[in-house]
Amino acid sequence: MRMFTDRFAGRGKPDPFAIAVAGAGLAFAGMGYAFWRRRQKRGAEPERIATDAPHWTLDKRSARALFGKSVLVNRPREEVFAAWKVERFPEFMENVVAVEPLGGGSARWTIKGPARREVHLVNSITESIENETISWHSDAESEIANSGEVRFADAPAGRGTYVTLILAYDPPGGKLGRLGAKLLQREPEVQARRDLHRFKQLMETGEVTSNASPSARKSESPVEPHI
């Protein structure tokens, strides 16, 4: 406090205009310095330390759309892994119309796409380690090239299982197409995130949570969920 009183003691009132000009000058000088520093740095590779961030969370360019989503499921890992099987997918994957096994770990998936279209995928499991992970990639005839992995890991202190879904795919229509699909709520990241939560609900509560209830909106039914 004394510092301030000493500094201003015995002086006349400062001219507000002079203060404003000085402030603007400082701001310009600061911006100029920042641009100059940036210019100096250009070309030089900045040091990047390897971190423990999951790879799908890193800010990096990728030709494919890549995302991952983790949920904590308050059940033992063996039980969670056992429940993650094709026959049970329709219980929690709202967008999956059908999964037809083609033998040899391959299956043809029919999925709801934007604007009431259906999308067909042909995927083959590349690796399956019990209670740990299931990986897959798409075959040539798949309408959308994709690959992915589901991981199951123990959560600490008996809290259950971390389930992580990682998916990379070639969005039809590129980035713009992906944005459009997101707006229509039929984009794989949106769908996968919601399906993963439905899986968690099913595992923990025995049912898929629904807000189905009446409203005064004519377009809604009391037995259908709504946004």
Partner: protein, 407 residues
């Protein structure tokens, strides 16, 4: 059935809507016998809670009779139950820790995205309280669907009338939780901002939890009178500088715990609140946290601040430095109602709480629109309104003056 619906800012109407149905095994359907209008319903009424849609059925304080159950419900037809306003699954990480209001399953996949975007994580669900908290129909209706009915509903013995137990749904446990969150030590002085229904239950709870004295702050004479009747010392902020009074009543150190039972729509003509009012009018903020600012500045160093009052988003001019420099502890959150249901029902049976003095009006469900107007505009006379689906339209029963005025 008939139901109270939100149609827009300051627009409430009673409409005929489809009956609810059992959707999931753990569901139950209730025939509602009593349902109250909550102070937080006014935040919906004023349009400050994001995520409401025209046609939503409101109401989160209700009780009724079980008329239908799913195969996984533990309830039986004919049972009378009070339903916690928080919807909780009982089996996720949060519910196991008894943080029921943080339930990670009740907010469905379809609605949790928006909630996650705004709050960082999806909120637990509640009845009749916007789509950020699940988009479930509320209980100001003839019938209501109750999910996870094996976890929430409190079975009520036949000898207890509705009015004695209805508030187990929200405001009684919320007042209790507010006082528990204040970590009251024997002999503490506890200041409570707001003498609405939650404030009045907070006063009772603080005294039951060992507070030496409770100082209640409001400006409506009828509400201050109720606070006094329940054992609080009272301050009218239109008559006094609240912080000066609190300091002078505590030897200059301030109250040990300060509880904000006001929330996002503070009253009062202080410079900060007038500025907030202007900002709210131009939609640059939703919060008017004058009471909370005052509580933080009033609290003694190293004291506790408990916030049961509802806030919706980002607040301006929050006294963060004051909070840090004074070393205050803050606890907040929607009430984990299920955690307290059992002990509070027992305490009601033992006569520990006055649950009825605050009720000023009983009215028909059909009169809901009018009652919301009164509740919003006449807070001195309307201290708590209970809607009864059974009553004839226009059959309003006001509390007799003699029952409260001169107590």
């Amino acid at each position: 059935m008939r139901a109270v619906t939100w149609q827009g800012r300051h627009k409430i109407s009673v409409e005929t809507v489809p009956d609810p149905e059992i959707v999931n095994p753990r569901d139950a359907i209730l025939r509602v016998t009593s349902t109250a209008i909550c102070g937080s319903d006014l935040h919906l009424y004023d349009g400050f809670i994001p995520g409401m849609r025209a046609g939503d059925i409101v109401g989160h304080e209700f009780m009724g009779e079980v008329v239908e159950v799913g195969s996984g419900s533990t309830l039986k037809q004919g049972q009378r139950v009070v339903v916690p306003f928080t919807i909780s699954c009982g089996s996720c990480f949060f519910c196991e820790k008894q943080q029921y209001s943080a339930c990670d399953n009740s907010n469905p996949s379809e609605t949790r995205d928006a909630s996650e975007l705004l709050m960082g994580h999806a909120m637990g669900a509640a009845f009749g309280y916007a789509h950020l908290t699940g988009g479930y129909a509320g209980g100001q209706a003839e019938y209501v669907r109750v999910p996870y009915s094996d976890v929430g509903p409190v079975i009520i013995p036949d000898d207890l009338p509705d009015d004695d137990v209805l508030f187990l749904s929200d405001i009684l446990p919320t007042g209790w939780h507010a006082a528990v969150n204040a970590d009251i030590e024997p002999g503490d002085t506890v200041a409570v901002w707001g003498c609405g229904p939650v404030g009045l239950f907070t006063i009772q709870s603080a005294l039951l939890l060992g507070a030496g004295r409770v100082i209640a702050i409001d400006h409506f004479p009828a509400r201050l009178r109720l606070a006094k009747q329940l054992g609080a010392e009272i301050l009218d902020y239109t008559q006094v500088d609240v912080r000066e009074a609190l300091n002078e009543m505590t030897g200059g150190i301030g109250p040990d715990a300060c509880i904000d039972c006001v929330g996002m729509e503070s009253h009062g003509f202080t410079p900060d609140n007038i500025l907030d009012q202007v900002k709210v009018q131009i939609y640059s903020v939703t919060e008017r946290p004058h009471a909370l600012r005052q509580a933080i500045l009033a609290c003694r160093k190293g004291g506790r601040v408990s916030i049961p009052g509802v806030y919706g988003g980002f607040a301006d001019k929050f006294p963060l430095g004051q909070l840090m420099e004074k070393g205050l502890t803050v606890k907040s959150g929607q009430t984990p109602v299920q955690k307290y249901s059992g002990e509070l029902l027992k305490m009601i049976q033992d006569g520990k709480f006055d649950t009825t003095s605050l009720v000023s009006h009983h009215a028909a469900l059909e009169d809901a629109a009018e009652m919301y107007r009164h509740w919003h505009g006449e807070q001195n006379d309307y201290t708590k309104i209970i809607l009864k689906p059974g009553l004839e339209k226009g059959a309003v029963q006001a509390r007799k003056e003699s029952e409260h005025a001169d107590a």
